[in-house]
């Protein structure tokens, strides 16, 4: 009798009982799920994921070994080195164990990252099952067709052989994402949240910080996401390694030294930081500028000609330098994140609620317009993050603000806004947060699919590195503020380890990128056809992602009350749907795309 199971990637399993943790799953048991999981299909240049669940015998996890056999077709092979194995780490959430962190297995029989060592560190009470997440990368260069391979699982009581039947499609996922999956965070939280950085006062000078940060950027990139790291605090303060050194004041203010800035950001902007990833050396598509209410211009001069001189002069230097360095594939964002709740400034630059604060859009556009309006060289854009006042602003500021990042619920109330912003050449992302660990994995698939269905350019998770000091037990906010975890304290890795939710996000981004690629090849009706495919798989009414307007839009946003939101329309795209719905969508999509 088999003591291990190969299952697909959308259902998690309880380590104590082997029960399925996704309550909406169609499959009822692990054995039933395993029977339904043997067929895999993948585009080329993409990862396909599955899980191995092993019932622990008397010897526990120490007896378990994995070995992959290269999948072969009649004429081609996917190398065994394209498999990557991760031990699933269990967290205590809402009284249950859920797997989320994924620890890369080092393949040896000893060391800190064997399944036995990881399980011992995890200390799951009454553990009866161990689980391994497997990524198999299907290279762009292999031929389409049916492949056969296997994964052998030694369990101590014998060896299970799980055949892998993989259909490789003609379709290939593009290296460059056509939708931005934006993982936001705030500098320099990595230094506060990674033990190894926190304890190193020389981290910015000795190269440690840059190497560690690059590991986060690379992991995001490899998962078809963009790490977006706001360089300044609400006060306007910026760590020295995130800005060029300035000298002088007023008319004499200028950049004295770009060297640290270039060392820090150059590899992201020329793409070299990503040279060893599957997607290749693609420069990051967007990056925050450090400009804010109190840098480079001194806020003590706010409203004076000297404030303008300092702000505009340094922005001009940034543009010149970026252009000379050839950083032409990234859009550099002027974004004002300040919030008056912190009592540092009297305006909300972010999520304007009180309509009179909108004047900062006019003030800062005017300060930056010489650069924002340049048609040559590096591309600088004005960005806003909008919620309360979005309905009042999308027409008014469409000519000044070219990147709109909009609260996902409030955006859904204004379908008419998309045409207005598109007409003005703007890009639109929605923002929300990562899903809580206790939520179904299917929930994580929604943001990329909603982006395709609605025709927006991207989506943002507002915070992604706030795992909390006790993440290994229970992550902060049940994981909704982190899709990575730190690898240093427990596993000796100077960088992040991924989460299951990040893997699901990547796998759905592959789907979304294939859809978007197809839509661009048939602009007439492509989006409508893809929207129909999503609606059919999710059993949604047409246009379910536009749920209508609330009845309080006739009041100014500063009169809206919190209680109103609980009654306000909200798109509910996955509630109650089986976890296998994403697989249903993939099947119908692959039939269309081939």
């Amino acid at each position: 009798m088999s003591s291990s199971y190969l299952i697909h990637d959308m259902i998690r399993v309880c380590p104590q009982t082997g029960e399925l943790l996704e309550e909406e799953a169609r499959a009822g048991t692990l054995a039933e799920l395993s029977e339904r999981s043997s067929e895999l299909a993948s585009p080329r240049n993409a990862y396909v994921s599955f899980q191995l669940i092993v019932k622990l015998g008397a010897a526990g996890p120490s007896a378990i070994r994995f070995e992959a056999e290269a999948p072969r077709s009649g004429w081609d092979e996917i190398g065994a080195n394209e498999f990557a194995f991760y031990a699933q780490w269990y967290h205590r959430v809402q009284g249950r164990y859920y797997p989320d962190a994924l620890v890369p297995l080092d393949g040896g029989e000893a060391g800190p990252r064997t399944l036995a060592a990881i399980s011992a560190a995890n200390e799951v009470e009454d553990q009866a099952y161990a689980a391994v997440w497997v990524d198999l990368f299907v290279p762009a260069g292999v031929g389409a067709g049916d492949y056969r391979g296997a994964v052998r699982v030694e369990t101590g009581s014998g060896t299970d052989v799980h055949e892998i039947r993989l259909r490789v499609l003609h379709t290939a996922v593009p290296d460059e994402s056509l939708i931005v999956a934006d993982l936001n965070s705030y500098a320099d939280n990595l230094s506060r949240r990674m033990d190894s950085l926190r304890s190193n006062p020389d981290r910015y000078e000795d190269g440690t910080y840059f190497r560690t940060e690059q590991a986060f950027f690379r992991m995001a990139h490899e998962h078809r996401c963009l790490l977006h790291y706001l360089p300044y605090e609400h006060s306007g303060r910026i760590p020295a390694a995130f800005i060029p050194e300035l000298e002088g004041k007023g008319k004499e203010m200028r950049v004295k030294d770009w060297s640290v800035f270039d060392e820090h950001f150059g590899p992201y902007l020329d793409g070299s930081a990503f040279a060893d990833t599957k997607r290749g050396a693609i420069p990051i598509p967007y990056m925050y500028l450090p400009f804010n209410f109190h840098w480079p211009a001194d806020y003590a001069k706010f409203g004076t000609k000297g404030y303008r001189t300092e702000f505009a002069g340094i922005m001009e230097e940034f543009h010149r330098h970026f252009t000379e360095r050839g950083w032409l594939r990234t859009k550099f964002e002027l974004f004002l994140n300040h919030k008056k709740r912190y009592k540092l400034f009297p305006y909300d630059g972010d999520e304007t609620r009180f309509v009179w604060d909108e004047k900062v859009n006019d003030i800062y556009y005017d300060l930056a317009k010489d650069v924002l309006e340049k048609e040559d060289g590096a591309r600088f854009v004005f960005r806003t993050d909008a919620s309360w006042s979005y309905g009042l602003h999308f027409e008014k500021y469409a000519d000044l603000i070219k990147l709109w990042v909009v609260n996902h619920q409030m955006f859904s109330w204004f379908p008419e806004s998309l045409g207005v912003l598109r007409g003005a050449g703007c890009e639109v992302w929605t923002y929300g947060g990562a899903e809580r660990i206790s939520r179904p994995l299917l929930a994580t698939a929604i943001s990329p699919l909603a982006a395709v269905a609605r025709g927006v350019d991207g989506f943002v998770y507002w915070e992604n590195t706030k795992w909390g000091d006790q993440w290994h037990e229970t992550p902060d906010s049940e994981g909704s503020t982190a899709v990575f975890y730190p690898g240093d304290r427990l596993f000796g890795l100077q960088g992040p380890i991924p989460s299951i939710r990040l893997k699901v996000l990547r796998n759905t981004m592959q789907v979304a990128d294939c859809m978007e690629q197809w839509i661009r090849a048939q602009p007439e009706a492509g989006r409508e056809r893809m929207g129909e495919a999503i609606a059919e798989a999710f059993d949604l009414a047409p246009g379910a992602w536009w749920p209508g307007k609330p009845n309080f839009l006739d009041k100014p946003p500063y009169e809206w009350e919190n209680a109103m939101f609980s009654e306000a329309p909200k798109a509910s795209l996955h509630e109650g749907r089986p976890s296998e719905t994403l697989n249903d969508l993939k099947r119908s999509l692959w039939a269309i795309l081939g």
Binding site: R341, F345, N562
Partner: protein, 161 residues
């Protein structure tokens, strides 16, 4: 010329001379001064902050003096903030305007502590802290009433946000 150094208390005294207390009294529009009452009973962690609004001219006048006060002694790197007592409950207080950084206590409404209460009663007060020092200095309006307290702190990590 060799820069002259000042005690933190002397810097606070100089700063308080230039702080317009009337602007601190009126730094919020009248309908927002008791903003916590607007969201009483709400559980959202963001709701209270969403109710905060300022009179920009008053805020900016105070902020400018705070930023400049921090620079009076070029050999020191203090940060400055203005505290008020809550009108609906004077046992509580909060930072209302911050200079270059936020006090380590944060921005929430909180119970006031003995040293700052002493300053609210009119007596400049020094508070030695584990790694640094804070001074609290009364701020008066044009009627010579105490309407706030100026904090100057050195060598204590500010609140990160």
């Amino acid at each position: 010329m060799k820069p002259k150094t000042y005690s933190l208390m002397e810097i606070a005294r100089l700063g308080a001379l230039f702080l317009p207390g009337d602007s601190l009294e009126d730094v919020m529009p009248p309908d927002r001064r008791e903003y916590p009452l607007k969201v009483a009973g709400t559980e959202s962690e963001f709701a209270l902050g969403d109710e905060i609004d300022f009179v920009e001219d008053h805020f900016n006048a105070l902020k400018r003096v705070l930023l400049l006060t921090e620079r009076i002694d070029p050999l020191r790197r203090p940060y400055a903030a203005l505290w008020i007592r809550r009108p609906e409950n004077p046992a509580l207080g909060e930072v209302m305007v911050a200079g270059g950084a936020l006090p380590s206590e944060g921005t929430h409404i909180m119970a006031l502590w003995p040293e700052i209460l002493r300053a609210f009663s009119g007596r400049p007060t020094r508070r030695d802290r584990e790694s640094g020092q804070t001074v609290y200095y009364p701020v008066r309006n044009s009627d010579e009433e105490i309407v706030g307290v100026l904090e100057l702190t050195e060598n204590v990590p500010p609140m990160f946000v």
